[in-house]
Point group: C2
Amino acid sequence: MGSTERIRNVARRVAKWVKAGHQIVVVPSAMSGETNRLLALAAELEPAQRTDGIRRELDALAATGEQASSALLAIALQAEGLGSISFTGWQVPVRTDSSYTKARIESIDGENIRQQLQQGKVVIVTGFQGIDADHNITTLGRGGSDTSAVAIAAALQADECLIYTDVDGVYTTDPRVVANAKRLKSISFEEMLELASLGSKVLQIRSVEFAGKYRVPLRVLSSFTPWDIDLAEEARSGTLITFEEDEKMEKAVVSGIAFTRDEAKISVLGVPDTPGIAYQILGAVADANIEVDVIIQNLSKDGKTDLSFTVTRGDYERTLQLLQDKVVPKLGEGTKVVGNPNISKVSIVGIGMRSHSGVASTMFRTLSQENVNIQMITTSEIKTSVVIDEKYVELAVRSLHTAFGLDGDTRIEVPQRNG
Amino acid sequence: MGSTERIRNVARRVAKWVKAGHQIVVVPSAMSGETNRLLALAAELEPAQRTDGIRRELDALAATGEQASSALLAIALQAEGLGSISFTGWQVPVRTDSSYTKARIESIDGENIRQQLQQGKVVIVTGFQGIDADHNITTLGRGGSDTSAVAIAAALQADECLIYTDVDGVYTTDPRVVANAKRLKSISFEEMLELASLGSKVLQIRSVEFAGKYRVPLRVLSSFTPWDIDLAEEARSGTLITFEEDEKMEKAVVSGIAFTRDEAKISVLGVPDTPGIAYQILGAVADANIEVDVIIQNLSKDGKTDLSFTVTRGDYERTLQLLQDKVVPKLGEGTKVVGNPNISKVSIVGIGMRSHSGVASTMFRTLSQENVNIQMITTSEIKTSVVIDEKYVELAVRSLHTAFGLDGDTRIEVPQRNG
């Protein structure tokens, strides 16, 4: 939520739903910029080492952002003539584990919320936070408000969980890259999970996981839609993430194309092809808390092989250094580490891929026609990902979008620049 | 607390006390301007009528200010190498009644704090707030952090409660009015209570009441003192509010002079001198939630009398209107309401007044010599207050300060203005 004007609009939107007979629980995020402001203050004071004692205080600090926006929304709702009450994470309570700054929800007691709903009140619950078994305040990490909303909807067995965000739904791909990307009216939960894990930023992956675990129907819609549009229209807007795979969905083989830009590839060349060699390399990387994404091992030749893997670009230099210092000396002569810090991953996702063959080959053919060299491939039941040079990412996404019949009408005007 | 730089200085000051072997509990206020910022946001959203439902949310909102500064201080202390942990009001818990925005502390459970102290940690407790019996967040009202600090000191039976404020102690009077006002090294609790209720802004009156009830020795000192001054020097600085009346204190008949500027006087003239007449007038005023301070009733003459009383200047117009509309019509012909919105109250306070006669007469003589007309007088065992025209307030305070031997060396340079 941004300014008080935006808070007032949220209140009016909620009032519209209440007047139509719905019981509503709202999980607001902090006001825009507030979490960053608070954490910037902490950064000025923090010691070099971030201990658990520091993380505990960062959570107590960051949790105030949602507490403030929740109280303000409760005030705005009362100004609209509705009964309303705000609950913090501990007042619900939302119980989590003790992993400060990235806690996981363990249970939610819906009783206090239900009581207030029965009294006709709109209940506001601070997202992003909970308490652990020792009554310490915890937070769920960035985007945690979405996860809170889904978890609360699950605890209350809500009919639907609406996620108001800064986009008006889930698109076949990022409309900033493909101007005629289409908004999907619905998408299966499994596809959404893949898209979220493959780089789509619409929903935090843990909120999608939670929705899947408890089968909470989610709808992603835009917080920029005017609050006073027709309720029925609003209820149909955005993208529904559903557990029912209807016929219409079966028609599209590929539902969406996701991509990431912040990856890097590292190859260890000429390593002895002996059992445990992958562990020797990747174990050292994992021990340094570096997350590895795609891994491929080449066919062995003369008892030697090459192992390549991708990491987040921010970890690139550190990983190279680590391999040079700790791993290469153990692998013997002829072993060499090379890398490319400018690669991207492009993925096609669709539950139709289960029953349609030839999807992957269409992908490879399309990229080949555009002279895009595929460096790595990884697949699962409903997705195929390729690692390519970053400079080809827009070209690859656009050509695949067309090849899989996802192009709609051009929606977004690309601004013309003069000079 | 102001900027992060000020928070860091607080941490360093606390570290100094800890290194000298003290167990420390810190009760920080919100960062400077934060409470006002939050309440200004609420003011943009609030409905005209401030119900209990609104007040509940204002408290949940305002309480975030202290929660944030407490977490930041805990981080700063850890950066100084000290163990530290912050507790919100509900984590202690600090239990209050349910009077949102002006709750009263009912009890404090010191167990959680004691446990952490025993582990060698500095414990930070969010001031200004608590929870009621139903787990709603409450706040104590402006200046509530002082009250929290005293109440926590009482619960823990602390040796001393240090109140760091923006002045370096309690003065014989406001140094902005009397340049050679002296800082008192100590003052009795009873005198401090009178001074606080008579307009001295150094301490919130409820914190002084609490200190009295639980006999907590309080020391008022300056948060602007450099954090690295000698500890023994800091421990002797400021003003100690004590329960022991030593001989030295007995020597000063008057310890301090307090004054208010924001008062107004209202007189109802020519009212029938019948039983219950004061109630008829003042009852109507009290029913309108207007607080009355000084009241005098003149001697009756021909069965008629005059009743005068003072109210806060902000209530002046409303009180006049109320009397004209509701009270005068019932009192019959000849009754008239007049007022003066520009009066002040000047008070001399001292426990020496108990055993020394002639203190009041010295006050009246001094004011008479300066041609200051006394409009009302009210006394108690250890204070005498006079109501005078506001334009004489500085003159009255300065001449009384000299007359009662309170002048010290000139401390404050009055800036010279040219032209």
